[in-house]
Amino acid sequence: MGDIEGSPGSSMHGVTGREQTFAFSVASPIVPTDTTAKFALPVDSEHKAKVFKIFSFANPHMRTFHLSWISFFTCFVSTFAAAPLVPIIRDNLNLTKSDIGNAGVASVSGSIFSRLVMGAVCDLLGPRYGCAFLIMLSAPTVFCMSFVNSAGGYLAVRFMIGFSLATFVSCQYWMSTMFNSKIIGLVNGTAAGWGNMGGGATQLVMPLVYELIKRAGSTSFSAWRIAFFFPGWLHVITGILVLTLGQDLPDGNLGALKKKGDVAKDKFFKVLWYAVTNYRTWIFVLLYGYSMGVELSTDNVIAEYFYDRFDLKLHTAGVIAATFGMANLVARPFGGYSSDVAARYFGMRGRLWVLWILQTLGGVFCIWLGRANSLPLAVTAMILFSIGAQAACGATFGIIPFISRRSLGIISGLTGAGGNFGSGLTQLVFFSSSSLSTAAGLSWMGVMICGCTLPVTLVYFPQWGGMFFPPSKDAVKSTEESYYASEWDEDEKQKGMHQQSLKFAENSRSERGKRIASAPTPPNTTPNHV
């Protein structure tokens, strides 16, 4: 569509190459507005919104945004609902430290698989039903907590509830049907960050619900079970809202989604191949395991840690633990924003440095958290740790879109799975055994964060450089086109399947930082006009 000269979207007028990846809106020359459409927000030719108005609930775009992040938030609330109540649950079910640790691992493991399946479900049923199905079918698993009698039952239920974290996929998928790709970065980052906040909110709310139920006359061993009805009902209510208020597409038509032919169907195996053979994919899978992964692990252990180490009341420990997760409100977007600012001056090299700095600082503060002996110091260390880790998550997704154009979806999925895997591994190694105190576990986790962040120094883009090396001087290899076109073989190039990648390559020249003006004309690119 954009290849024909003169057609909407082909003009490069006004494009300076310095546009932010994260932007609140897309200006008209870059993406033309469809003036015939009657939506509350300006839309492009596919009727995707070009503007992100956070506090609006306008149907369908902003309403979808809110339904989406709220459903993801709900699943975070239920997945981590047990964490602040562990001091009560461990007495009721006679749990040992390894029982508690294993259940924590189970709670994040289920979604490794469910996230992979969710993409296919969204393709089949649409994101609205994908989200509603997951959230309403996992509501019974939350209600099931009331039946649990043993360590095994506790683990099984936490595992099943954890499947619901696949709403991350439906959330991001749904956003991409509603928002133009030029602002999708910020939209998805905000939705993901606000959803993650659920892990913090739950630490605050569950002890409060528990206290209320106890005051109403229940014993402690019954009150925690009844408290789980709260996240259970959140699932049901959010599911019903999604079903009744949501729609798959701006125009509301699910059938059209399946008939969309303008995006050339790519071969799954090829897309997978280019994802797994790109070494950068695996570096970021590891890195995300030590930013998002440690965030999830901390969500699971931090309330119990403060309760035991500093002899706090259950809801005080909950309040402190909540600030960890709630920092996502600003910390994750801050990470993405810092990445963008660095890219403006230093290009991709700046993005890599920002990621390394933020994540390593997070690790350092985590080490301090485990060693802090007084409550004020521990809280300070925890807050700084949360900012470091969550900003690193945001900064990671400032880089991921540039690793590959063809395999972006799979790489994002693999990275997300890496986060959960890192969380499971960390909980297993540091928080499941009595031979290591939770305090020592936190410090060692911090050391591991610093170590596992080092591989980012190995990431190198020939066209932009790496942390320590400048871009290649080779006239061909130093072009963005060469990098992105290398994901297509000659046959595919003959068929012109790589045109979208070339266009992306042109737009990605902003990752050169201040050197854009001196970017050489890439040789061998087919000119758009005679």
């Binding site: 001091p87 461990r90 309403m136």
Partner: protein, 168 residues
């Protein structure tokens, strides 16, 4: 201290605890005792792999005795055996226990103690079987809400599919 030895049910069974000053100690030892607090303490077997019940020498950090049975003021002039009947509370977890009585002085500092078991905490232990915390009402509500969730989802889905098939 004397107790009945059996598996006690939380919320139902009673323990009768009797305590008094050991008559063999020198006279005047108990002059600083102001309060006696009797507590339920975890036996070593229930502390395994559970760091939140750890025995630590520093009493401020010791987590062995977490459940208070009774607190009574102590009068050295009247140091005959005292006793108290206590119903095992419903928030006492399933575990193996012994009982300890701490004597506190006027500054709330522990100055002496006695316990129902030996120094190694291996003899004369008893078990408590806690309440499960489950109720038939809670279980029923759980099932009803779950069924509601599944039925409303599929109901909505089939309804929408049916409406879509109907000619517009």
């Amino acid at each position: 201290l004397l107790i009945n030895f059996a598996v006690l049910k939380g919320g139902e069974d009673k323990i009768t605890v009797t305590w008094g000053l050991n008559q063999t100690v020198a006279a005047g030892t108990d002059s600083t005792y102001k309060t006696i607090k009797v507590k339920l303490c975890y036996a070593p077997i229930s502390q395994v792999d559970r760091g939140w019940r750890k025995t630590v020498d520093d009493l401020k950090k010791d987590r062995t005795c977490q459940h208070k049975i009774v607190a009574r003021p102590y009068n050295p002039a009247n140091n005959t055996a005292q006793s108290h009947e206590w119903t095992v509370e419903r928030d006492v977890p399933t575990a193996t226990y012994f009982i300890r009585a701490y004597a506190y002085d006027a500054d709330e500092k522990e100055v002496a103690y006695g316990q129902t078991t030996d120094a190694g905490r291996t003899t004369n232990l008893f078990q408590v079987q806690a309440i499960s915390g489950r109720h038939v009402t809670v279980d029923t509500c759980s099932i009803c809400f779950s069924v509601f969730s599944v039925v409303s989802l599929f109901g909505f889905f089939y309804n929408e599919k049916r409406n879509a098939k109907r000619p517009q």
